[in-house]
Symmetry: C2
Subunit: 816 residues, 2 copies
């Protein structure tokens, strides 16, 4: 229902049919504010599904209609307002136009030209076939077996996600090491060491350019031409999927391959981004791949795990995969579990969460083993990819520092909000002026060149030499410095961003000049802003943390410069708080981010409090201005994400105000021909099944269930008609429907019903007999809660006589 592309013209004649199909477009509801939305929506440009579209949300749709009488007077529960509810057989004064409401299109969603995101079918369809399976399982102790298999899959998800994360990490580390070693050698060869003020940096600069442009161009080309969905961090996509939106191609193996190569090339190319976001996406793909036991990319069906082939099970596995990805990325198993919960869980299912936690812990453990072995460590002390390093001594703080932390938090919120806003503007510009594919690749290259050039300029113009020996940087560069000194600016740039974060946390006080760090902060702020939104696979976590750590440390240094007696100004501590504040300001993820930071930095639980103060201040200040970067991306792409609470505009409304009507219904026993024609003519995905129908006035029947488009197509494909029941009944089970999951064929692949034109379909065995139903006068906050808590796709609105009044889908909750 959410996914109708364009208004379908049903007025074309369908005259060969036995049921004359009459179109009844909803017209002239001028008092309904929804109408305005339709118009606005349809004026918006259609977006590609590349995850990189321009925001077109004007944001001022008038939803609250003040002309409408207030609720109290309007309150007559038993009899719904007839003018609003179509197909109400009990109403006396019915519109003359509605006399034959055989076949309706819910015109609002049909008219909306937003991209065709579908919802997941998270609701289990408990039809007769499902019940049969349940009974069989009761008998065979099948349930226990299924449970054990589920555990095995979760453990596999943890292990494989960690292995993929390790591979990516090791490759990036090796290649970066090669690159920066070569560059340092080149610098040392071309700049005479003794003459610290002169030297030719052109050749190293050109090498640097080359080693940036090549991988970035390759990565951007792969992403752009092969799989555009892999652009960006992948977290918004996974978030949307877990929220219940079907994002096409997001969990394919091809996507994983492109993403892995994309992230390697981008990080090695030196773009301002991290590999953590893509890890989470990788975990999701692994989960979906393993749990389904088949791959569309390789056209291979392993014929295992068949019982898990539905949206409900798949989403649960992807939840575990996302958690395993976060855990691997940050070495934070509890944070991983909470990330998945925060993004996904509407219903707290203890078993699912327990499995998710185990997958997370196994993922961290596997990563520990592999990376410890790789780094030649005896114990498993290597934790996570984003290893911030343990602080030498427990971080301490004094009471009077708490206000300082709060100020840092506020700064983080302001800077983060500005970053989000700037980034959104850049991406809007991009979308508008760079529509061509080749342009997107060139743009990535340009940003890479910009980064290298700025870094080179900084190294060339700033003279920041420090004595060797107390710096943990692997590759000290002597460039322009005396013997026994190294160039602190080059040290910041000649490593991966992640290593720079570590330096900022752990370098001893006085490792950098104030000017160095100030310029570095500004440059990296701009660079990271320009980078996020390029058509490359890159996460936003590391650059954000880096910028925050830089200005946090900077602030401590500046303060210490003016108040040299303030010994509490441990620069590493302030770098950590700054990173937290900046992350809070940009990402606005709250619970899981706090826990991830706590786990990653391994601070004492007494230091949670300063972290939380910084995070909360940053989030609240940032929320005053705009939304988090992930949510902004989701909004820009018009993904119909359900929020946590119903939007405030909906607070006083009733279901009546947001439902879509009229509704296309199907009779419990309906003709195959009607179903075929209907599926061809409209693009809805769920159809109420009605009974007690007089003639063809379907929308006046009593609701007895709901059936999905995909189920109807399977019924037609497999010819499950009443007339030939004896052929298919014995061997038809719920597995017949699962076999075609997840890519059900479209109605076009169903042959035209020639000889079967008069056959009948009896839906009583296939339909979901327990759809969730609400009344037209139920309040929107209440039905929103039901919708979200149960993970629904369709919510039927019925009147007090159990006749359909309308249907509510995800999209009806998200107009702003």
């Amino acid at each position: 229902m959410d996914e109708n592309k364009t208004l379908i013209n049903l007025e074309d004649d369908i005259s060969e049919e036995d049921d004359p199909i009459v179109l009844n477009k909803k017209t002239g509801h001028s008092s309904k504010p929804i109408k305005d939305i339709e118009v606005n929506q349809s004026e918006e440009p259609t977006t590609s599904s590349s995850g990189r579209t321009a925001p077109a949300n004007s944001g001022n749709y008038p939803l609250i209609d003040n002309d409408h009488p207030p609720l109290l007077e309007n309150f007559t529960p038993p009899v719904p307002r007839e003018s609003q509810i179509n197909g109400n057989a009990g109403s006396a004064s019915r519109d003359i136009n509605n006399l034959e409401p055989i076949f309706h299109l819910r015109s609002r969603t049909a008219a909306a030209s937003t991209p065709n995101y579908e919802s997941l079918d998270y609701e289990v369809c408990e039809n007769t076939l499902f019940q049969d399976e349940q009974r069989e399982q009761l008998a065979e102790r099948f349930s226990l077996r299924k449970d054990i298999i589920r555990w095995i899959i979760f453990i596999q998800i943890g292990i494989i996600t960690a292995l993929i994360a390790c591979s990516i990490d090791i490759i990036i580390e090796e290649l970066s090491e090669l690159k920066y070693q070569f560059l340092i050698k080149s610098v040392q060869e071309n700049v005479p060491l003794s003459d610290a003020t002169e030297g030719d940096l052109v050749i190293p600069y050109l090498y640097w350019l080359l080693f940036s442009i090549l991988p970035v161009a390759f990565g951007a080309a792969m992403v752009t031409y092969i799989e555009p969905i892999t652009a960006g961090s992948g977290i918004p996509q996974v978030k949307s999927y877990l929220n219940g939106v079907k994002i096409p191609r997001i969990v394919r193996i091809k996507t994983l391959a492109v993403k892995a190569i994309g992230v390697i090339t981008s990080v090695v190319g030196g773009l301002a981004g991290g590999k953590e976001g893509p890890m989470i996406h990788a975990g999701a793909v692994v989960a979906a791949g393993i749990s389904q036991g088949k791959s569309t990319t390789f056209v291979k069906d392993f014929r295992i795990f068949k019982a898990f082939r539905d949206d409900h099970e798949k989403r649960d596995f992807v939840l575990g995969g996302g958690a395993a990805g976060v855990s691997a990325a940050f070495g934070a198993p509890i944070g991983g579990m909470l990330f998945s919960l925060e993004e996904a869980a509407s219903f707290w299912n203890q078993n699912l969460i327990w499995r998710t936690l185990v997958a997370s812990i196994i993922s961290v453990f596997t990563l520990n083993i592999v990376l410890s072995a790789y780094h030649g460590l005896n114990d498993f002390t290597f934790t996570g990819l984003f290893n911030l390093g343990k602080f030498d001594q427990p971080l301490k703080f004094d009471y009077f520092e708490l206000p300082i932390f709060m100020i840092l938090g506020v700064s983080g919120g302001l800077l983060g909000a500005a970053w989000n806003s700037l980034n959104t503007k850049i991406n809007k510009f991009r979308k508008r002026f760079i529509p061509w594919k080749i342009g997107k690749v060139i743009e990535a290259v340009v940003v890479a060149i910009m980064g290298v050039t700025l870094a080179c300029l900084m190294i060339y113009f700033i003279n920041d030499c420090r004595p060797l020996g107390n710096d943990p940087t692997n590759n000290p560069v002597q460039l322009f410095c005396e013997d026994n000194e190294y160039n602190a600016v080059a040290a910041l740039w000649f490593q991966t961003p992640e290593a720079t974060v570590r330096s900022l946390f752990h370098d001893p006080p006085g490792s950098h000049k104030i000017l160095t760090l100030a310029l570095f902060t500004v440059v990296y702020y701009v660079l990271s802003c320009a980078t996020f939104g390029l058509n490359v696979s890159l996460g936003v976590f590391i650059p954000t943390a880096l910028v925050g750590a830089a200005w946090g440390r900077l602030l401590a240094m500046v303060t210490f410069y003016f108040f040299p007696q303030a010994e509490f100004l441990h620069p590493g501590k302030y770098a950590l708080i700054g990173a937290a504040a900046n992350l809070g300001g940009v990402l606005r993820m709250t619970i899981s981010l706090s826990v991830i930071l706590m786990e990653t930095t391994g601070v004492e639980s007494s230091f949670f409090f300063p972290l939380i103060i910084a995070l909360i201040s940053a989030k609240w200040v940032g929320d005053y201005f705009n939304e988090g970067i992930y949510d902004t991306q989701i909004q820009v792409n018009h993904v119909p994400m359900l929020t946590w609470e119903p939007l405030p505009q909906y607070k006083g409304l009733t279901a009546q105000k947001i439902l879509s009507s009229p509704v296309v219904c199907i009779k419990l026993r309906d003709s195959a021909h009607y179903i075929y024609q209907m599926l061809k003519k409209c693009e809805h995905n769920g159809f109420p099944v009605v009974d007690n129908v007089e003639g063809n006035r379907r929308s006046e029947g009593r609701v007895c269930g709901i059936i999905l488009r995909s189920q109807l197509i399977v019924i037609l494909l497999k010819s499950l008609y009443v007339e030939n029941k004896r052929f298919w009944l014995p061997e038809t089970s719920i597995q017949t429907f699962r076999d075609l999951y997840p890519r059900y064929p479209s109605i076009k692949s169903v042959r035209k019903l020639d000889e079967k034109i008069n056959y009948t379909v009896d839906l009583s065995m296939f339909m979901n007999p327990s759809p969730v139903r609400v009344n037209p006068h139920d309040s929107v906050p209440r039905i929103f809660q039901i919708f979200r808590a149960l993970g629904l796709r369709h919510l039927l609105v019925i009147n007090n006589e159990n006749r359909i009044a309308g249907i509510i889908t995800r999209r009806d909750f998200i107009y702003k």
Copy 2:
């Protein structure tokens, strides 16, 4: 509905009424398995609400009726089976007895003589008054203010919970120190130091007895005579409350006071129990007290936070309070948050969880400050009450140890299951043979004497002398030992159980003899089993961890004795794994327990994996035998807790099989007299409101809402009749109903309606117009999910014509 005490005989004449009320008891449903349950249930002994009743669950109710036709043939969704659904006006062949079904009692629940636990009204009643308030709040930006107040309350909860925890902890520590110092002095005076084999232990023994008996008797008497609900750890009660069951008197300030004194006396008295469980209960009381802005104990209404006076808000605050309590007890803020979630959350509400986390962190922070100041520490490194101490160096493990950890887990599961079973048997015995209050006090004293005597015997007969110097015990006793030695047995006993756990984790290898530890394990296992279930306030966490740590360390020592070359056998590590395994085996809490252990011990994230392995093995092995100790307690008390998943017996059933019918209904406009009589005659708590009623055939009307007993009583009390509308309408708001929360008066406090006998009540303004409705053929697992996810109290079952077919409440899901 869940709470009817006895079968009410409505056949007594009510002849003075204008509506003749006819009883229609459900009789002779011999094909309904429910009937068997009723009989069984009513044969069970009634239980007191003291939380300490005997289990009477025979556990073999035949719920799946094989005589019943299978579902497939039975599947006719539109027309429910008439014989089962009463009051179906559409059915032609109605029973002659049902011709006048004016007033029905749902006899099943009425007949069950289980204790009268009510459900919380977690579902928000969105009646017209509520909607009015919502609209006002929209206008006044009230919503933001309410949100800020909510935050303030959560912060207060964190602070006050921590302060209470600190006070209890400090008092216990000081008193214990005094007690054990005195005993040691007494030992040293009475046992000649030079003569290590002789000496008179009788006087110290008598002193010890005195210092045990006095506080234990005092605590037991307080609990028994003043507030019996404070017995035990309080976790089962908080768990039940969070699950949605109204446990009387659980969140009163009086309860908190008795609990605090009770736990101090019991721990100081030396019983085998901890103070952690009671902390959680204390947090819950604090939360309920602060958020309501009034106290029943002190009969004081502060006239603040009036908007939060309903079950929904209160439960959310108690969630935060429980989390703050756990956090304070274990220094584990994330664990605290997860504990509350695991026990309570059915619907994942991001804001609530965020507030809970903040309350937890603030609680830990406050505790840190106070206890650090008390202990004279400069930094805030004191974490939690249950401070296991940090391990000196990161715990390491080798691959081949993983199977050993698993074996430890299995042992923990077996020992835990045995402990639970033994404890249940002891409590059954207690319940049967010690019904008198004074007996319960004496029993506690006897257990205290037993503990002291066993400890003295161990100290007397075991000769385990260790050189002084490398033992972290505060009070080394030289008793029977050479100079420069101390008695290791006395060291184990002469401190609080918590300190003993710390010793077992951190004492260097070779601190005890194998025999010492083996005997200690056995003695403490039995003692803790005898203690849990006494009428004293004590938690089970510490003794369980202590027993586990003891046998874990013992195992490492024994293995090391046979394989002295096995250097990996760090006894502290095995003590930790043993404690985890034993906790997993006894408590069976999974997610939060893992996280609490991880946070409390502060181990590296790589060590999570061994912990999880031990916990999972223990839980799974234990679950094979019985349930966790908290769940056992809950079951024994017949608390109608909702499980996570529907019970397997319910898998193939439909709503029809579990609903209660007939149902007592009220007309939308009904006579005050009818309502008054009905409330007097039956004890249900929710009544469907119907419309389109012919005469008095109420149960044939169309459902348009539901109204609670408490609302009806307020309507009668305040005389909110149609006839005098002009007097009350302007000043009646949702606050009118909240003012009487939480202790609504009973119907007996409503004066007899003399002059108002013909007045009418119009429920359209008061009723909840959006009750959740399901159909009789909906499957039980599905409606269970809806019921749990939405936190419902009543679920209306309606047929396809929107007439009431039955009602489902919490109790209908929990028959086993």
